[in-house]
């Protein structure tokens, strides 16, 4: 009998592959259907935003940072605003109403991001209709963004020193309508997936990463909470008055794809709770910035009627404002975990250095560890469960 010759096969997956969430490239070495080695290549979406930011004035950077993590845009801009505001020393004078609006918007953003995650993740595993349902609800959130700022994905609504403008007429009704509708829809998604045999077989026990490895890889957020590390920036290092809200931090222990799914579903439910509390505190009309016109633009009636207002208006729009020298890092809990900017100022109107702590960058790094030893079909499930956004990885 002739000897059976066996050899491994190398398969190139990506960068143009629908299941790699953008332009992640994996070179997989396969033995039959199991993965024996994996190599990750990133950088296809590198746009040099951190370098570009060094040439811009502080306020001009907000649209840029929103385009880094394009699904959690407003948590990026929130993290950036908080870091700059700490250097400016205006945190103490930030009105409570602004903080409540910021909490509300950040939580709506988390729901929107998780909906895209759930939709695409389920689609990749084969549950096509879930994607349609998730995007249907996300559309309502994008409509709220459009109402706020006229822009759906990257509203640039958070500004250093407050918000761009006051919330629009009818904002409360729109958010209330969403919050009333959404918990029922969440049950619907769970009805389709949580006890679905196909879903369970594709996700249970797949892509397990131990507690120690998770922290060693720098994964916090939903990935760590799925393996029993109950760290949440909103609890550990509260910002924007999160310590005054009632919510639970969901923690599961298995650390597989299924538990990551359960954690994120529960997070959406908790976000709805926070949104309801925040919306109750926000008055339909009120202050929306710190009203320090060296940092935020003065209202138009002051510009047209007062000399000082006119001067401040021109200073803001031509030179911007200066930020005291120093460095600052204020993390927020983004949809993908700890999200923060380490910014350095040299005391001028442009930053000296901006660096994003990108949660997806670290999640992407851990993918080979999770897929080696598994089946090739699990690769898709694992990448989906890490919820990487390539804009965030490559920046």
């Amino acid at each position: 009998m002739p000897e059976l010759r066996t050899e491994t096969m190398t398969v190139n997956m990506g960068p143009q592959h629908p299941s790699t969430h953008g332009v992640l490239r994996l070179v997989l070495e396969l033995s039959g259907e199991s993965v024996v080695a994996a190599n990750t290549t990133i950088g296809y979406l590198h746009t040099g935003i951190e370098k570009t930011a060094e040439q811009k004035k502080w306020q001009q950077i907000i649209p840029l940072v929103e385009r880094m993590d394009y699904l959690g845009a407003q948590s990026s801009s929130l993290a950036f605003c908080l870091a700059v505001e700490r250097l400016l020393g205006v945190e103490a004078t930030m009105p409570q109403r602004v903080q409540d609006i910021r909490v509300l918007i950040a939580e709506l953003q988390r729901i929107a991001s998780h909906l895209v995650w759930l939709g695409t993740h389920a689609l990749e595993i084969g549950a096509v209709s879930v994607m349609m349902y998730c995007f249907r609800e996300r559309e309502l959130l994008l409509n709220i963004n459009e109402m706020l700022a006229g822009f759906r994905m990257f509203p640039s609504y958070f500004r250093i020193g407050g918000l761009r403008e006051d919330i629009p007429v009818g904002f409360h009704d729109a958010v209330n309508a969403f919050l009333a509708r959404f918990p029922g829809k969440l049950e619907e998604y769970q009805g389709l997936l949580t006890k679905n045999q196909i879903w369970l077989k594709r996700t249970k026990g797949v892509g397990v990463l131990s507690k120690e490895d998770t922290i060693s890889y720098g994964l916090v957020g939903p990935l760590a909470r799925a393996v029993g590390v109950g760290y949440d920036v909103r609890r550990a290092f509260p910002y924007c008055g999160y310590d005054t809200y009632e919510f639970d931090v969901p923690v599961r222990t298995a650390g597989d794809v299924f538990d990551r799914y359960m954690v994120r579903i529960e997070e959406m439910r908790q976000s709805v709770r926070i949104c309801k509390q925040a919306l109750g505190r926000i008055t339909p009309r009120g202050v929306f910035d710190i009203q320090d016109y060296r940092i935020v633009p003065p209202p138009k009636d002051k510009v047209y009627t007062e000399m000082e207002g006119l001067i401040q208006h021109f200073l803001i729009y031509s030179q911007g404002f200066t930020v005291p020298a120093g460095e600052s890092y204020v993390p927020v809990e983004g949809p993908r975990g700890e999200h923060g900017f380490n910014i350095v100022s040299d005391g001028t109107n442009r930053p000296y250095r901006v660096k994003l702590r990108a949660p997806s960058f670290y999640a992407c790094q851990s993918v080979p560890q999770m897929i080696v030893g598994g089946m090739i079909a699990d690769v898709i499930a694992v990448i989906g469960s890490t919820d990487v956004v390539m804009g965030d990885v490559d920046r």
Partner: protein, 183 residues
């Protein structure tokens, strides 16, 4: 703010400084970096178990030119520290032949972060097993994160001659394809 560090680390191994955002910040020497980071991670009273990020700031033309920043945190849950706390560790690196020791032995997260240091700032990471570019293409020249790297490079425009065929050649090629299809 620094009492805990003073009690648990050898005297003189770190230099506390004031940071504008109020985060405890210390300078370490390049030689003592790995040992002190390991002590910061493993000493039960400190337990800075989480490496949030590694970054670098280029203070060109000042000397020492670079500062590498390690953002550490204690998570305050499940064996990763008792209380949530943060620490910023900095290392001064000279502009001539800049290098830092690798900390991939302590945190797996440091692997790509250190490759980014090399890619963006040209900092050689001693002991790193796979120090390649990560964000820029492999054949890229220069390190774009540096302050003296030009923001807009003006290179002479490359001109290529467009492919041109004469009318006769065009007719002949059409005829040839017709002949092929007839056969």
């Amino acid at each position: 703010m620094f009492e805990l560090l003073e009690q648990n680390l050898p005297a003189g191994s770190f230099e506390p400084v004031h940071a504008a955002d109020g985060m405890p910040t210390v300078y370490l020497s390049r030689e003592g970096l790995v040992g002190t980071l390991q002590a910061l991670r493993d000493t039960p009273e400190l337990r800075y178990a989480f490496l949030a990020d590694i970054t670098c700031v280029d203070y060109y033309p000042r000397e020492p030119r670079y500062e590498v920043i390690y953002l550490l945190a204690s998570l305050g849950s499940d064996g990763f520290g008792e209380t949530p706390k943060r620490l910023r560790v900095k290392v001064r690196v000279p502009g001539v032949d800049p290098s830092v020791p690798t900390i991939t032995g302590l945190w797996k997260a440091a692997d790509w972060a250190e490759r980014e240091l090399w890619d963006m700032f040209g900092l050689r990471v001693d002991g790193h097993a796979d120090l390649r570019r990560i964000l820029m293409p492999d054949d890229w020249e220069g390190h774009p994160g540096r302050r003296d790297y030009p923001v807009q490079i003006k290179e002479p425009v490359k001109v290529y001659e467009p492919l041109q065929v004469t009318e006769d050649e065009f007719v002949a090629s059409i005829q040839a394809s017709r002949d092929r299809s007839k056969r």
